[in-house]
């Protein structure tokens, strides 16, 4: 199984409160949490924590946390959006609030998920990233020599805590590229060498520019790149266009990665 039961990472924010991207769903069954998805404005996230309890852990609802299918959404829904709703339904009353990224930095289906959760009785705080709040943060991890899974985890943790590490990782020239969003099943990331640079929405997150389509579509010419999307995600339009333009490999995957997809990426990484 992917990360849902085994991979647990916890990172402290500057305030010292735990931020969970991966938790065990059956742990801390009486603890309340604040959920979020996408890249909400940090001020709104901070205010939500102050309102609902600064000590409450933050949980990234985009990630597969092992929740069962809530049957709220159609089967042909991007797994990230399905994770948001399934996780929220599974957490139920433990979820003090959901800070929902519903602007251009997310997608229509994220906005719809926020709408549905609010109608289901969850406390939903909407966030839209305004253009004047777009930043230009240095890319510490996207160009680093690190295992790709760790690189993306660290970038996504900057949504809550963007403070640069005291001693950052070593940067490197790219031998390969990974474009896209954090995958529902992260095993695909383990196929890439440490010299893989990160592009697409994940890079936008690290730069603090989550709705910047120009940056999202920027890749280094000549770097063999896998353009990854979840199936049924609108980003497939960009992935298809970019893969054709840069002779990369477009991959889409629903639910868990299968052997054929792993083999396809393995072949691309090895032969490119």
């Amino acid at each position: 199984m992917p990360s849902r039961f085994f991979h647990q990472s916890r990172r402290s924010s500057r305030r010292g409160n735990p931020v969970h991207r991966y938790i065990r769903m059956k742990e801390h069954s009486t603890d309340r949490v604040v959920g979020y998805f996408g890249f909400p404005r940090r001020r709104i996230l901070r205010e939500a924590r102050e309102r609902f309890g600064s000590a409450l852990p933050l949980v990234d609802l985009d990630v597969d946390l092992g929740a069962g299918d809530s049957l709220v959404l159609p089967a042909t829904t991007c797994r990230i959006i399905a994770n948001i709703v399934d996780n929220a339904v599974h957490l139920g009353p433990r979820l003090a609030a959901v800070v929902a990224s519903v602007g251009e930095e997310k997608c229509d289906r994220g906005r719809h998920a926020a709408y549905l959760l609010a109608r289901m009785g969850f406390t939903v705080i909407e966030s839209r990233f305004p253009a004047e709040e777009l930043e230009d943060r240095p890319l510490v991890y996207a160009r680093a020599r690190l295992p790709l899974r760790e690189k993306i985890d660290r970038i996504m943790a900057t949504v809550v805590d963007p403070a640069a590490p005291a001693q950052g990782p070593v940067s490197c020239s790219p031998t390969h590229g990974f474009w896209g969003v954090p995958p529902h099943d992260p095993r695909i990331l383990d196929l890439f060498p440490e010299t893989t640079h990160v592009y697409g929405w994940v890079r936008c997150v690290e730069a603090g520019r989550p709705s910047d389509v120009e940056l999202e579509c920027l890749v280094d010419e000549g770097v063999p790149t896998v353009f990854f999307t979840q199936s049924f995600c609108a980003k497939q339009d960009l992935a298809h266009h970019l893969a054709e333009k840069h002779r990369g490999l477009a991959i889409d995957c629903h639910r868990e990665i299968n052997d054929s997809i792993l083999a396809k990426v393995e072949a691309f990484v090895r032969l490119s």
């Binding site: 083999a263 396809k264 072949a267």
Partner: protein
């Protein structure tokens, strides 16, 4: 030493010591309790070999072993998927593997052919085609054509024409390409493909050639 390309519907087994090639249906292979090969590739090869090799890599290596061109496109049309590699200066320029949409089409064609007793060696190409979005949708179109009075032969040739169009689009509509897999032995497929591109069939053992190359 025995090497095998265990595809979804057909398995190709080569004895490297004697040079004997055996081609069996995969439905027979999965019932063979002693089917264990030294090196294997293909969807059903995993678990039936001491050493497993990636099939797209085997296809690419096989293409390089069999084709001397500097620049060329190679496509393998299988029972459940389509694999494609384009070389420039004998380096991989682009590759892809159609795993979902359009998959199972080869197996679907065999199922349809078996049901309607089609002799593919005698089947004439059709000028018309049906959309083969996937095997199931394509089969629905064939059944619809037959219900409208089109002969089973013509309906299946239309399905095959739709499959050819998928393949040509998938490989980027090249002026010429090399074909790998069981469709090399289907004259209706090859003649239909020639409406769109120049085609050079390489036969069913390209992946085995790739495995040999990998073993060197």
């Amino acid at each position: 030493m025995k090497i095998a390309d265990c595809g979804s519907t057909w398995t190709k087994i080569l004895d490297l010591d004697s040079g004997a090639l055996e081609i069996v249906t995969t439905k027979e292979l999965v019932r063979r309790k002693d089917a264990l090969y030294d090196v294997a590739t293909g969807h059903c090869g995993r678990g039936r070999c001491k050493e497993y090799r990636n099939e797209l890599i085997a296809l690419a290596e096989g293409g390089l072993a069999l084709v001397g061109d500097e620049d060329f496109s190679l496509v393998d049309v299988g029972g459940r998927d389509i694999k494609f590699v384009r070389f420039k200066g004998r380096k991989v320029e682009k590759l892809d593997w159609n795993l979902a949409c359009g998959s199972t089409t080869g197996a679907t064609l065999e199922l349809l052919g078996g049901y309607y007793d089609i002799d593919f060696s005698a089947l004439s190409p059709s000028d018309r085609w049906v959309n083969v979005t996937c095997g199931v949708f394509g089969m629905e179109r064939v059944l619809e054509q037959i219900s409208l009075g089109t002969s089973p032969e013509e309906s299946i040739a239309m399905f095959l024409h739709g499959l050819v169009r998928n393949v040509i689009d998938f490989v980027g509509r090249p002026a010429h390409f090399y074909l790998s897999g069981g469709f090399c032995e289907n004259p209706c497929f090859v003649r239909t493909a020639k409406r769109y591109s120049s085609v050079s069939p390489l036969g069913r053992t390209v992946l085995l050639e790739g495995l040999k190359k990998v073993l060197e």
